[in-house]
């Protein structure tokens, strides 16, 4: 049994490193499909994390939640995105307002900022420090992605990364909220995505371009 314990401990300590890698990759990526794939990877890591904690803390709901993450976020959403790209013949590359190098530097800055923020709160929270740092990093990256990306679809990815960050924060600090609330939140995120997809279709029809930054008619 020792191996399982050690691997669980190893996973618990090392997963945040992988998350940081995905954060950097997400900032640097230029093609939309790789960005979706990275999001899937992130969700997978979080699912593993949930499963390990479930095993570690002997919580049955954790397994249900992990399964939910795998079904929805690792498989469901990326598949939906790829279908969406084909149907909309959306251009593949990601239009951003900050160049790739700048984005990476900002991502690194975000990671350092999240560590600094966590350290100031670490005293109050006994949770593993790097877990909380990873969640804050994910949140800030999500926000950064939404602010810097010009395409509607990329903004949806940014939002999903933000949700992942919040979900991870909930996970690392309190080992998950009551199950009903977790499922409710998942349902809301899903509905949000569905509606955003709907709106992307309508933007496509009325503006026949996907560039959100051009939507500037309502001013003043």
């Amino acid at each position: 049994m020792g191996i399982l314990e050690t691997t669980a401990g190893k996973v618990l300590s090392s997963y945040s490193v992988f998350l940081f890698l995905t954060v950097l990759a997400q900032a640097a990526v230029r093609r939309f499909s790789t960005s979706v794939f990275l999001f899937g990877l992130q969700s997978a890591i979080i699912a593993i994390q949930v499963a390990v904690i479930g095993y570690h803390e002997k919580l049955v709901e954790a397994y249900i939640v992990a399964a939910l993450i795998v079904v929805l976020k690792v498989l469901g959403i990326p598949y939906a995105f790829f279908r969406l790209i084909e149907k909309l013949h959306a251009p593949r590359e990601v239009k951003t307002s900050t160049s790739a190098a700048e984005s990476v530097f900002i991502a690194v800055g975000i990671i350092c900022l999240s560590y600094a923020a966590v350290r100031s709160y670490a005293s109050g929270v006994q949770a593993p420090e790097d877990g909380l740092a990873a969640s804050v990093a994910l949140i800030l990256t999500g926000a950064f992605l939404m602010v810097s990306r010009k395409r509607a679809l990329m903004q949806m990815i940014g939002l999903l990364v933000l949700e992942n960050g919040i979900f991870l924060a909930a996970l690392t600090t309190t080992f998950g909220m009551p199950l009903v609330i977790e499922i409710g939140i998942f349902f809301d995120v899903l509905m949000g995505l569905f509606l955003m997809g709907l709106f992307v279709f309508r933007i496509r029809d009325t503006f026949d371009h996907m560039d959100v930054s051009k939507l500037r008619k309502l001013r003043g």
């Binding site: 926000a143 602010v147 903004q155 939507l215 500037r216 003043g220």
Partner: protein, 666 residues
Amino acid sequence: MRVLECPLRLINFVGRFSPPVFVQTEIAAAKRCLTRASLLLATMFSVAISTGCNAGDRGLLNSEVRRLDPSVLAPFPFTFSLDRLGLFFLVLILAVALPVLIFSVSYVSRHYTPARQKWLWALLLLFIASMVGVVAASSGFAFLVAWEIMSLTSAGLILLEGSSGERRHNLFIYLLMTHAGTAAVIASFLVFLPHSHTLDFTALRAAGATLPHGARIALFLLAFVGFGTKAGIIPLHLWLPRAHPIAPSPVSALMSGVMLKIAVYGFVRFAFDFLPGGPAWFGYLVLIAGAVSGLLGVLYALAVHDLKRLLAYSSIENIGIIYMGLGAALIFTAHDARTWAALALAGALVHSLNHALFKSLLFLGSGAIADSTHTVDLEKLGGLQRRMPVTGSVFLIGCCSIMGLPLFNGFIGEWMILRSFIGGSTLVNTNAQLVLPLMVGVLALIGGLAAACFVRVYGVAFLGRPRSAEAENAHASPRAMRVGTVMLASACMAMGVWPGIFLRPIVSLAQSLVRAADAPPETLMISHVIPWVAAAFILLLGGTALLKRVKRQARTWACGLPGLTSRMQYTSNSITKPVRFVFARVYKADRTLQMLPEDRPYFPASISYHSERTTSYERSLYRPFVDGVMAAANQLRRLQTGNIQVYLLYIVLTLVLLLLYLRFAG
């Protein structure tokens, strides 16, 4: 005492129900309701006058006359009660409202479509009811509600007259400045709250005595600015010459005659009733503001040839005189010379009553002129005395009163204020001893300029030859108009010739306000001398009129040349040109002279001269503030860029800022 009891009970009864009764009358606002309203007003007026006059010496009314307390109705205390100060101003309102209503019976029916007439009657009666409400209010909330409704209904009445571009702009300025003034009034009421916990006047009065010094200064300044805006003190007067001329004549009579006095009532209530003692500089502030308003008001009146704007500016002048009286009273109370303070305050109150009478008379006269000649531009009038005899002689009485000539009612107030200024010399080694006597010169100069202004008004409008076709075939005004104006004129004459009838109660009111022990001796003296002067005057007039004379009509002398035309007469601007030349620096007129065609200056086809006098306040005081606010608004508009990424950035930035605040200052 018995004889006083029945009118007192009637006034209580009527006082208790006057606001709601008014509310009823204005809802059924057809013409037939007018008779009921004026009947009611008539009874109230006669009763109020009777109680007011002979209640003075026996101090009958020093206690609260009547408390109407429908506070169960509104969430905040909403009580009405009529104490002596309230009764005096109620008499003032009714004394003007009754003739104005009678005047507007025929004026309204000749000038407005039936639909507008109904609206006008409703708003007019609500306007009067709100003024009665303000005067009778005895809780802060009731005062403010009535105060706002007063401004709203007067704006509604102005809107009824017409809503073209220029009028709308003037109305906008009027409402905006009145609202800003009301904000200051609300603030001045609420500054009491930490000390008095409720807004009832008795609680305010008690808290006022024990107010800390800082709050007292803040309160006084707020009240001064708030009520000054509504009264039209110089820097805050911008709306007055814009709003009064564009209102229907009876309404501008009420606004100029009575609404300004309601502002004076508010200020007196605060300065004398709620804040008894105050440092001397309160008085100097009010005195200087009054002097400046008086001087500049009459100087601007000299420069204007639209009759109603002229009367509006002269209202500013008279409010200035009233504020000079109030300032002197405040200085005297600060130096504890209570008797002189009573004289100055009584002078100010007398002048506000007289001003209400003759100013509304003049506005009704201008209404009658507008009714028959369809214009109030002095340059187009002339020779109206022969064509509108009654309106002419009534207007003459009005002009004599506003100039303060002895046998008319304007003189009494000015005399008392001048007498109190001279009394200022008895305050040994205070700077009041120096300042107050000098104010005699300022008041005399204001009186002289007012005389210059109204010689021109009456001379150009009513005497000499008619200067336009409209003036040529002007016709006498209908009966109701004449009756209204004659009532006011006879009131002016009566008060001018026999001041005793109304001096005693006002002096005792002033005494009770400044808590003076004994009444100033002089007032009774003046009320004895003037009747004798009047008697001697009439005797002399009778005597000289008996001279036997042979009358013959002959053409006016035109240096022997035939064909003296009306253009050869002095116009209203030319009569005052010398005076305006002397005070040229005040006007800063920007003149534009244009010769056409430009390239041949020496052989001009036409020369056009235009001089525009914009008061410097508008440019130097209000314009920068308004431009600043609009610039800030436009800058803020640019924040709403329309780009969603920027919106998200705003949220994240706010979050980061708050986290930093939490981190370092939390």
